[in-house]
């Protein structure tokens, strides 16, 4: 999954959270998925940052 795809899915989940406030049945599931995606994006970002910095140090 790409960073862009992950962000798009997070946005989609947030939209559903805003619009379907009383859908408690899938709340946990949606929050868990969004949190997982946010963590994935953080990892990708840190990795990219590290690589960019290494390139500049060379």
């Amino acid at each position: 999954m790409t960073y862009k795809e992950a962000i798009a899915e997070i946005e989609q989940i947030l939209k559903s959270l805003r619009e379907e406030q009383n859908n408690i049945d899938t709340l946990t599931e949606r929050v868990a998925r969004a949190t997982e995606l946010i963590e994935l994006c953080r990892t990708k970002l840190r990795k990219a940052e590290g690589e960019v910095n290494r390139i500049f140090e060379e």
């Binding site: 947030l14 959270l17 805003r18 406030q21 009383n22 408690i24 929050v31 949190t35 960019v52 500049f56």
Partner: protein, 393 residues
């Protein structure tokens, strides 16, 4: 033929000399072109003058002239100082001379003075003619409008290998930290026909034009004198039409030569040319460094912005979840209150009782009759009772 009817050659020469002295007793001002010039071992200067027909080029007059050693400095020296030019072949000069006839050496002119202003004017006129011709032919701007590469790394040099100017140039180049490759195309840089020699070197460069970024023409290193060939139409026209940009460091302090005027980048001295090349490389290097920093900053900004967005999304989500939970909790509370309102305890507390017949709560007097047994439930127990009377309301 009687003896009295002829004269000796010496007598003839003597008569010519006398006649000449009578005809031209005082010095005269004469304009002529220098066809040849020699200073012999004893320091006397011999000049061969010529006058050509301007249209046909045929010789119309010719004469020898002498400047005695004692006068070389005061005439030629002064002339050269005023003109900034060597007295050389091809130059037109205005001079004051006496005319003499020698019995052995024939006619000769003794130069007393040379008028530098006339030669300067003549050179300036020819210079202007060259400029106008180059402009008319549309080649004037050609070299100047070529693109100079961002970094000039492969340089063809036209110079004499032994010139001080070339040494100055190479010394300055060695100080540069940049790898600028030079190749020398040797030429005679001053004196007669030096324009032809330089043009020959330029042609040799043009044959390998794709191997070079630019051409440098250098000369000088303190030597003053004959710069007239840098005003030559042949040289200026070749430089103007060269397919590579030309840098000049001809090293003069007076007028700019026509060659400088048509060159892409005219500079004063060979050292200045070397410094220019180094500076151009340094400028490019600096621009690269600047771009690298800008790129790094952009990357950092991008990752920083992405991180901020991610944090924002995370916070948004937490907020939304909290709101959802809170909303649902409130709704549940409301429902709970509603439900509680219907609890029997509340009914008993308010002083109501529930009447049941056979376990079913009574809602109307129509469902019972006198004599029926019913139970009346209260908070703390049940009353068994019989109906004795029914009053309909």
């Amino acid at each position: 033929m009687p003896n009295s009817q002829y004269i000796t050659l010496a007598q003839l020469q003597g008569r010519i000399a006398i006649a000449l002295a009578d005809a031209l007793p005082l010095p005269v001002w004469v304009v002529a072109e220098v066809a040849d010039l020699k200073i012999n071992a004893s320091g006397h200067c011999y000049i061969e003058f010529i006058e050509k027909n301007e249209k046909t080029g045929t010789t119309e007059a010719q004469a020898r002239a002498t400047i005695w050693r004692s006068q070389v400095m005061s005439t030629i020296g002064r002339f050269e100082q005023q003109c900034g030019q060597r007295l050389a072949k091809g130059m037109k000069i205005l001079f004051k001379a006496t005319v003499q006839h020698h019995a052995v050496y024939g006619l000769s002119l003794q130069i007393q003075e040379i008028d530098a202003a006339h030669t300067i004017g003549d050179m300036e006129r020819r210079r202007q003619q060259t400029i106008e011709q180059l402009q008319r032919e549309g080649v004037w701007d050609m070299n100047r409008t070529l693109d100079m590469p961002l970094v000039v790394q492969r340089v063809a040099i036209v110079s004499s290998a032994t010139a001080a100017g070339y040494r100055d140039f190479m010394k300055e180049m060695e100080r540069s930290p940049y790898a600028i490759r030079t190749e020398l195309f040797e030429a005679t840089m001053q004196g007669e026909h030096c324009d032809e020699s330089i043009v020959e070197a330029l042609y040799a460069i043009v044959e390998r034009a794709e191997e070079f970024d630019a051409v440098v023409i250098i000369r000088g290193g303190g030597s003053t004198g004959d710069l007239e060939c840098y005003n030559s139409y042949l040289l200026a026209s070749t430089v103007a039409q060269l397919p590579l940009p030309v840098l000049t460091g001809i090293g003069h302090d007076k007028d700019t030569s026509v060659t400088d005027m048509v060159a892409h980048t005219p500079l004063k001295t060979p050292t200045a040319v070397a410094a220019w090349l180094d500076h151009r490389a340094a400028e490019f290097d600096g621009a690269l460094e600047y771009r690298a920093i800008a790129l790094r900053d952009l990357c950092r900004q991008a990752t920083h912005a992405a991180l901020l967005r991610l944090e924002q999304l995370s916070a948004d989500m937490r907020h939304l979840v909290e709101r959802t939970m809170q909303g649902e909790a409130q709704r549940l509370d409301g429902i709970a209150t509603l439900v509680e309102n219907f609890a029997p305890e509340r009914i008993f507390r308010l002083g109501y009782a529930i009447a049941r017949k056979e376990g079913k709560a009574l809602q109307s007097v129509e469902s019972v009759a006198v004599g029926d047994n019913i139970e009346v439930a209260l908070a703390d127990g049940t009353i068994e009772s019989r109906i004795t009377k029914i009053i309909k309301s």
